[in-house]
């Protein structure tokens, strides 16, 4: 059951450059999407979300883009900082009828100084 897919297990970028993390989903009932960041031995930390009525949401260095027709979303981090190094999870839910979050497998981001 891979309703939410993060096809890149890892990504390495230089400090100051843009990090782009991608996520695809298959369930057309999903209408709310979230990105979480996770450090080792900690729980997922909420970063940013977007509902299906929007195609972009921005919060400081983090921007999430949603392409509903392609069932694709991406997280942009600009500029990337070494402290951004973590595992990033994409998650989705269907606001009506289900509250559960369905997670992708995660992408490990490494930002090199």
């Amino acid at each position: 059951d891979q309703q939410v897919k993060q096809n890149s297990p890892s990504l390495s970028v230089q400090e100051g450059r843009i990090s782009i993390l991608n996520c695809d989903y298959t369930n057309s009932m999903f209408d709310y999407f979230l990105w979480y960041k996770k450090y080792p031995a900690e729980g997922p930390t909420f970063l940013i979300s977007i509902s299906s009525i929007k195609d972009k949401n921005e919060d400081g260095r983090f921007t999430v883009f949603l392409n509903k027709s392609a069932k694709h979303l991406s997280l942009h981090i600009v500029p990337s900082q070494p402290g951004d190094s973590a595992v990033y999870f994409c998650a989705a839910s269907a606001l009506w009828g289900s509250e559960k979050l369905v997670f992708g497998k995660g992408t490990k981001l490494t930002v090199n100084p």
């Binding site: 031995a41 729980g43 930390t45 909420f46 999870f89 559960k100 979050l101 997670f103 497998k105």
Partner: protein, 113 residues
């Protein structure tokens, strides 16, 4: 900043024993969740809880699992007779509105021997 807390951080138990994992959600939140992550795998939804009853549960959440909100602050997950395959990180989460972002605790690492 309010946060979700979980105890213990690490629980080691023998197969067949009962365990209770404890969580204190954020105080004004009304929706509570348990997720788990087996090593190397995705974060998986177990159960959601609202208004003192289970609102949704996954296939994983069988008769061996139960949840309870014994008082105004704690939210517990009980596994009646643990199996080796129950070994995982268990995350508690809470949210203040249906469909809002869920805030996660640091997790309890359960090891079943």
């Amino acid at each position: 900043e309010p946060e979700v807390t979980q105890t213990p951080s690490h629980q080691v138990t023998q197969m067949g024993q009962e365990v209770i994992l404890r969580c204190v959600p954020i105080s004004n939140h009304l929706y509570f969740y348990w997720y788990r992550q087996i090593l190397g795998q995705k974060v998986e939804f177990l159960v959601s809880f609202y208004n003192n009853e289970i609102s949704e549960k996954s296939e994983i959440f069988d008769d061996q699992f139960s949840v309870e909100r014994p008082d105004g602050s704690n939210f517990t997950l009980k596994i009646r007779s643990t199996k080796l395959e129950d070994s995982a990180m268990y995350f508690c989460a809470s949210s203040d509105r249906e469909g809002d972002e869920q805030f996660f605790g640091p997790g309890t690492r359960l090891t079943v021997l």
